[in-house]
């Protein structure tokens, strides 16, 4: 009987797909539904959860700190996209060129930061961007006669530190994606273009960029998600979840503050659901615009 089921051509595909479906249901659908339910409840320490309807969402809509967190996360996402897509692409193209000296060295040195723990990296950046005269960045600025800057206390300067940290960490990873994308472009195209008299710039814009599109879209999609879900970088840079005037507070940071620090799990669930919606809307729009849902010819 078992043999019959296992060998059945109709059943086999379902058996193979089952592990994925199980993981998906247990670790994604169930928590999602359960936090969706929780977002309509008031959950207090040691007490039965109370059903409070849409109160959490109504409160969220009037919550200025939440909107500050959304703005911070959005700004971080846009800045990281602006830096972490064009530059890694450019570096990948450069390092893909056989004429470039020390390619292997640069490849590994770019990738190295990704292997560093974010906790360590965040702490180092916090010290580098410290407000004292002796901290690294301020002592460098001091050489040019610039007064010490309180980097981590200002919105703009704080973001310079935060984006510097993100760029330092992720440049190499994104570069690696683009390098693997470049490997898929046959050399013949470039050769043919050269014979037809195309300049290096033309080859880059007419061949490299269009053919890298699937890679670019992939990097874009994960970067949007990573940008909106950023949390630990900010937490480490500001040595906790409470940055001055909440300049480093992200959506996930706010979820953490409400759910874990303030024991308001119902409200935190509502924050999580809104984050999910924002991410889904942005990513689905982006994928639709770039034509990823169209049937391939």
């Amino acid at each position: 009987m078992i043999k019959k089921v296992l060998y059945s051509q109709k059943v086999a595909p379902y058996v193979f797909v089952l592990p994925f479906v199980l993981v998906f249901v247990i670790f994604w659908v169930y928590p999602l539904l359960s936090s969706f339910g929780m977002s309509f409840q008031k959950v207090t320490l040691g007490q039965e959860a109370q059903w409070i309807g849409a109160d959490n969402y109504t409160k969220l809509m009037g919550d200025t700190i939440f909107f500050k967190a959304v703005r911070n996360s959005a700004a971080y996402m846009i800045l990281t996209l602006a830096i972490l897509i064009p530059f890694p692409m450019l570096f990948a193209v450069l390092l893909n060129n056989k004429a470039v000296w020390g390619r292997e060295f640069f490849k590994s040195s770019f990738f190295f930061p990704a292997l560093t723990s974010v906790v360590v990296a965040g702490t180092i950046f916090r010290l580098m961007f410290g407000e004292m005269e002796g901290s690294l960045i301020n002592s460098v600025l001091g050489l040019f006669g610039i007064e010490p800057v309180k980097f981590l206390k200002g919105q703009v300067t704080g973001y310079i530190a935060l984006v510097a940290l993100a760029s330092w960490r992720w440049m190499g990873v994104n570069m690696l994606y683009f390098m693997s994308g470049l490997k898929n472009i046959p050399d013949d195209y470039y050769e043919a273009a050269s014979i037809d008299g195309a300049s290096a710039f033309q080859r880059f814009t007419k061949i490299t960029i269009p053919l890298l599109k699937p890679t670019t879209i992939y990097v874009l999609t994960i970067s949007i998600y990573a940008g909106l879900a950023m949390f630990i970088e900010s937490m480490m840079l500001w040595n906790g979840n409470n940055s001055p005037k909440n300049i480093g507070l992200t959506i996930v940071g706010y979820l953490y503050r409400q759910g874990i620090e303030k024991n308001n799990l119902g409200y935190a669930a509502a924050v999580g659901i809104v984050l999910l919606l924002i991410t889904m809307i942005i990513n689905l729009t982006q994928l639709a615009i770039s034509g990823m849902f169209k049937k391939e010819d």
């Binding site: 207090t44 320490l45 040691g46 007490q47 409160k59 009037g62 919550d63 200025t64 700190i65 410290g130 407000e131 004292m132 309180k150 206390k153 906790g240 979840n241 409470n242 940055s243 001055p244 005037k245 909440n246 874990i260 620090e261 303030k262 024991n263």
Partner: protein, 443 residues
């Protein structure tokens, strides 16, 4: 042959790597150590979480005494020290889910109301606190109580005093003893800045000690009698306006780290960039541990007041030690913490080891304890802390800790104080915004 070398190298590096892992703490976010305290084989092992490394030292001493006195109820204490936020967050999740909580834990006063919300998942300590009721300050037990149940045992009174760096003051020709009012402090500060270029004090952006002490002087509070937040009161405006005026006159300035009790600030004080810290007495242990360069230079004095006759201190901060509902042996844990925190012996040791002002005030009068010339705190400071404490004994006001306190503290210390001292926002406007924000968050 080559292979053999390579293999040996691999084995050696693996051993070194594993040994390296083993010698460090087993938990990534905290350091654990088991205190034996002379316990025998049959001792019960209790776990204890704290965010102050020094508290473990006190427990170590008390553990030895406990084990010697109670051979049939001996304890081994597994102490884990974690950063402030981490510890409270982990503890909150653990008691909420009923899984993974320690038997005993410290909870900071500012976070305590969070743990009293709903049905507290902590054991009431009334029965073990009862025998000590007449010897310790009642208000310190009330701080950690809810509906008549005591859930935490206090460590100290936390009388707030001024710590002055006498070396810089002498350089500027200022006598700290002549500073009685904030106006005196301002004039002294102007002189210090002119003569030395150093700041007289700090404008705190990440802690509410200064705001609290100024409210306490005016018999006011962050919350009204019903526990509702009130941060835009005339008293609060007066306090912040006064501090802002000091900042505008270069008497005080913001400090790296945002307040005197941070690593960056220890460095600034150690380098002599700031003269004064207005902090609870437990700041003494920070001086002896982290600001050793200042030994013999720091004098302790009552706080300046807005007007003569106002109370010159308030009880700031505090830690309640609790027993969780999931503790292995609830009664043993309760008996032990009462012994380690409330007994006369414990109170003497709290001063000896930690330099805190004990809540059993009879210790304050024990000259042989408080003026022991071998005591590290007596040696470190210019004058004896207890001479000052006994002078202000009747003037220690309290700031209430209510369920609104964590939110109030969060808004003030992340937003409001930064707006006032870093951005120069209008004081009343900043306080009104804070009030609105707090009310919105507490809705």
């Amino acid at each position: 042959m080559k292979n053999k070398w390579f293999l040996s190298l691999m084995v050696i590096s693996l051993v070194v790597f594993l040994a390296g892992c083993g010698s460090k703490s087993s938990e990534s976010s905290g350091e654990s150590s088991v205190l034996n305290g002379g316990a025998g084989e049959s001792a019960t092992e209790l776990s204890y979480w704290t965010f102050v490394e020094l508290h473990g030292q006190h427990f170590e001493k008390m553990l030895e005494k406990w084990n010697a006195a109670n051979p049939d109820r001996q304890i081994k204490l597994n102490v884990t020290v974690m950063p402030y936020d981490d510890m409270h967050n982990k503890l909150s999740i653990a008691v909420q889910t009923g899984v993974g909580a320690p038997d005993i834990s410290d909870i900071e006063l500012g976070k305590f109301p969070d743990f009293l919300a709903g049905t507290p998942q902590l054991e009431p300590l009334n029965d073990v606190a009862e025998p000590f009721k007449d010897t310790v300050v009642q208000s310190q037990l009330d701080l950690y109580s809810k509906e008549g149940n005591i859930y935490g045992l206090s460590t100290h009174v936390g009388a707030t005093v001024a710590f002055y760096n006498t070396e810089i003051l002498e350089e500027a020709g200022v006598d700290y003893k002549s500073i009685v009012t904030w106006e005196d402090f301002k004039q002294a500060g102007i002189k210090v800045y002119e003569k030395t270029g150093k700041y007289m004090g700090t404008a705190d952006t990440s802690a509410s000690w200064q705001a609290s002490l100024l409210l306490a002087q005016q018999e006011s509070d962050f919350t009204d009698a019903d526990g509702k937040p009130q941060v835009n009161t005339p008293e609060m405006a007066r306090a912040m306006t006064m501090l802002k005026d000091l900042q505008d006159n270069n008497v005080i300035a913001t400090i790296a780290g945002g307040q005197p009790d941070t690593e960056e600030a220890y460095g600034e004080f150690n380098s002599g960039n700031y003269v004064t810290a207005f902090m609870p007495l437990w700041q003494m242990s920070r001086y002896t541990n982290y600001m050793k360069d200042l030994s013999g230079k720091i004098a302790i004095a009552p706080l300046p007041v807005l007007e003569k006759g106002m109370h010159r201190s308030y009880g700031g901060g505090g830690t309640g030690t609790v027993v969780t509902k999931t503790a292995k042996d609830v009664q043993l844990a309760k008996d032990f913490i009462a012994y380690a925190k409330l007994s006369l012996d414990a109170n003497i040791e709290i001063w000896n080891t930690l330099g805190f002002d004990p809540i059993n005030m009879s210790v304050w009068d024990m000259k042989e304890v408080t003026h022991n010339p071998d005591n590290q705190f007596v040696k470190y400071f210019v004058n004896n802390p207890f001479d000052v404490l006994n002078e202000i004994k009747e003037e220690i006001n309290l700031i209430r800790s209510t369920s609104a306190s964590p939110t109030i503290n969060n808004v003030l210390c992340t937003v409001t104080f930064n707006e006032i001292f870093e951005d120069g926002k209008d004081v009343q406007q900043a306080l009104d915004d804070a009030q609105a924000q707090i009310e919105q968050e507490l809705k």
